[in-house]
């Protein structure tokens, strides 16, 4: 029974990792860039939602609707960052891209810290319902919403990629950048769309995050971002189902480690698992082995 509860706990944190790692994986698949600032987009989403709460409360709107302004701002921000910081560097060495991304991440954190102060701010309950009780299992409503929403969004995203013109363009670009240019895919707008979708998902993740952990802080995105990136790598970076799988695996591994092995060494064990997986299968669980062409 406890094991089941622990697995549900793992799924709930894992689905947040999954939503965040979708953004990493899409951007990496198409632009070949670790978008270090992705975690901080979540932080921006959370702050936006927090700022909008008084407005929504005034008009008696449900508080979770603050996700709408959060999505709008995050999408705009994501696209802007791509346009200003990443696009000029598209043909530069990887290392330049990576450093820029780290720079953007630090910039977002520190600007927010300057505006709102370094201390955390508390967040009201978003979904105020009693927990669901089935037998001896208690399930918080936010846990259910988080897991369900992640699954639904992943399916929608997968359909979008497979069925629509834009989705197919994105897949083509990630397969072969030069060739997709030749067949007339607009690379610029495809990459921009990728950033927009990734940032939108990050905004949704931010709302789910604060519904479970009601605090916002300028650095809240950095560890979350790193863990989500780990999840993306575990599942096989660039592969959408892989990101979700990686997120769930990471969440469950973390929870079970804390519960049954050692809560003191949990982080070391989780990162150790990452290193092991990478060594055994560098392309991740669902990754395909590709030989680099000369």
């Amino acid at each position: 029974m406890e094991l089941l509860l622990q697995i549900i706990n793992g799924l709930s944190i894992g689905s947040i990792y999954a939503l965040v790692s979708l953004g990493y994986t899409m951007v990496y698949g198409i632009a070949k860039l670790i978008n270090f600032a992705h975690g901080d987009i979540i932080m921006i989403g959370a702050y936006t939602s927090l700022m909008m709460i008084p407005v929504f409360a005034k008009y008696n709107l449900p508080l979770w609707l603050t996700v709408v302004p959060a999505i709008i701002l995050c999408v705009i921000l994501g696209v802007l960052i791509e346009r200003i910081c990443y696009r000029p560097l598209r043909n530069s060495p990887r290392i330049a891209n990576l450093i820029t991304a780290i720079g953007v991440s630090l910039l977002l954190q520190n600007v927010v810290m300057k505006i709102f102060g370094p201390d955390f701010k508390s967040y009201p309950k978003l979904f105020d319902f009693p927990p669901l009780v089935i037998g001896r299992v208690r399930l918080g409503i936010n846990v259910i919403i988080t897991i369900l929403l992640t699954v639904i969004l992943t399916i929608l995203l997968q359909l979008f990629m497979q069925k629509t013109k834009y989705g197919k363009a994105m897949l083509a670009t990630s397969e072969n950048y030069e060739a997709s240019k030749l067949v007339g895919i607009n690379i610029d707008s495809t990459i921009m769309l990728t950033f927009a979708i990734g940032s939108g998902l990050a905004a949704v993740a931010s709302i789910l995050y604060v519904s479970s952990y009601p605090q916002v802080q300028p650095q809240m995105g950095s560890m979350l971002g790193i863990k989500a990136f780990v999840a993306a790598v575990l599942g096989g970076i660039g592969i959408i189902p892989g990101a979700v799988l990686g997120g769930f695996i990471l969440g469950i591994a973390e929870t079970l480690t804390r519960a049954y092995i050692s809560s003191q060494l949990a982080d070391a064990i989780v990162f150790g698992i990452l290193i092991l997986v990478l060594l055994v299968k560098p392309t991740g669980i669902l990754g395909k082995d590709l030989k680099e062409k000369v």
């Binding site: 670790i34 910081c85 000029p88 560097l89 530069s92 060495p93 990887r94 290392i95 330049a96 891209n97 990576l98 450093i99 820029t100 780290i102 720079g103 953007v104 991440s105 630090l106 910039l107 954190q109 520190n110 600007v111 810290m113 300057k114 950095s222 790193i226 990136f229 780990v230 790598v233 003191q264 060494l265 982080d267 070391a268 990162f271 150790g272 990452l274 290193i275 990478l278 060594l279 560098p282 680099e292 000369v294």
Partner: protein
């Protein structure tokens, strides 16, 4: 060429010595305050850190985000060595510095051998993960002082030792990287597949550069431990690694002088402008972005700043004009 070599050899040593005596003289005369002396030590430590990270980032062209992790390994092992009192006094301190470097180098090999089989981006993540693991382990074990930190490390404020350790470290890294082995490392940076095809043992040379980098991060850690007298694992976090990376990027990736100069400037600047502290991190992040957008090779790029060349220019130009 041979003559120039000799001249530059001698003048360099002479100038280093003169500089040393000037600094010592000023200290004894009380012109350099205690505060400034403390800053000088931090500058020396940061120079070693920046130059050693430059070996991986600049020369090898791989990003590591766990440089502070290697520093903490060096700091803790050196501190534990001197604390044990096996060899007391200054000799113990000197051996402690070597121990710090050696242990950090060893950990560098252990991390590097598997990690460097992966491509650049993964390396960044693995080193980051490694830094976290180190921190968790230091906090877990009792002999490292756990979360309470390690205290009672013998403090050595010997400026002479710190000065010469810094000079020797930088000179050693520079000569290794300009040697035959160093050129192999540079070749990997330019094109790994081509250098592999040209018969360079890429795995070996990647690990080689990575280990050199780790060793000197450990040396810097050892100096730091004995400067502070106390250590805590939390100090050596991701942000510290980033701060060192900023120094390398600003100075020029691949430039030893660039790294040295920016380590000096970025250590003094915040102290000189205390009011601007609030904006320091914002400025750092902007520097990173703008630098990559407009001058991705850093201020000096891969060039080295050379006094001889400047003197040559100064002497020649007026002469040219005269004629």
């Amino acid at each position: 060429m041979n003559k120039t070599k000799k001249i530059s050899y001698i003048t360099t040593i002479v100038i280093v010595l003169i500089l040393y005596f000037i600094l010592i003289g000023l200290m004894q005369a009380g012109v350099i305050s205690r505060f400034a002396k403390g800053i000088l030590v931090i500058i020396a430590i940061n120079i070693i850190l920046a130059v050693s990270l430059n070996v991986t980032v600049g020369c090898l062209g791989q990003i590591t985000l766990g440089h502070a992790g290697f520093m903490s390994v060096g700091a803790y092992s050196a501190a534990l060595f001197t604390k044990s009192g096996i060899i007391p006094g200054i000799p113990g301190y000197l051996i402690g510095i070597l121990v710090g470097g050696a242990v950090a180098g060893l950990v560098g090999i252990i991390v590097g051998v598997p990690a460097l089989r992966l491509k650049g981006d993964y390396l960044a993540i693995i080193t980051l993960a490694f830094g976290e693991i180190i921190r968790v382990l230091i906090e877990y074990f009792d002999f490292t002082g756990g979360a309470q930190g390690l205290i009672g490390i013998p403090r050595y404020q010997n400026f002479t030792i710190i000065f010469f350790v810094t000079v020797l470290s930088v000179a050693a890294m520079f000569s290794i990287m300009t040697s035959r082995h160093g050129r192999a490392v540079l070749a990997i940076r330019e094109d790994e597949i081509a250098s592999d095809a040209a018969g360079i043992d890429t795995t070996f040379y990647k690990t080689f550069a990575f280990t050199i980098s780790a060793i000197f991060a450990g040396v810097a850690g050892a100096l730091y431990a004995h400067h502070m007298g106390v250590l805590g694992a939390k100090q050596f976090d991701y942000n510290y690694s980033i701060a060192i990376l900023v120094m390398v990027v600003l100075g020029g990736m691949g430039s030893f002088t660039g790294a040295t100069l920016s380590a000096v400037v970025l250590t003094i600047l915040p102290e000189a402008l205390r009011g601007f502290n609030d904006y320091r991190m914002i400025l750092y992040s902007l520097i990173l972005i703008i630098m990559m957008l407009f001058r991705p090779i850093g201020l000096l790029g891969r060039k080295e700043f050379e006094i001889t060349k400047i003197i040559d220019k100064l002497i020649k130009k007026p002469g040219d004009n005269a004629i």
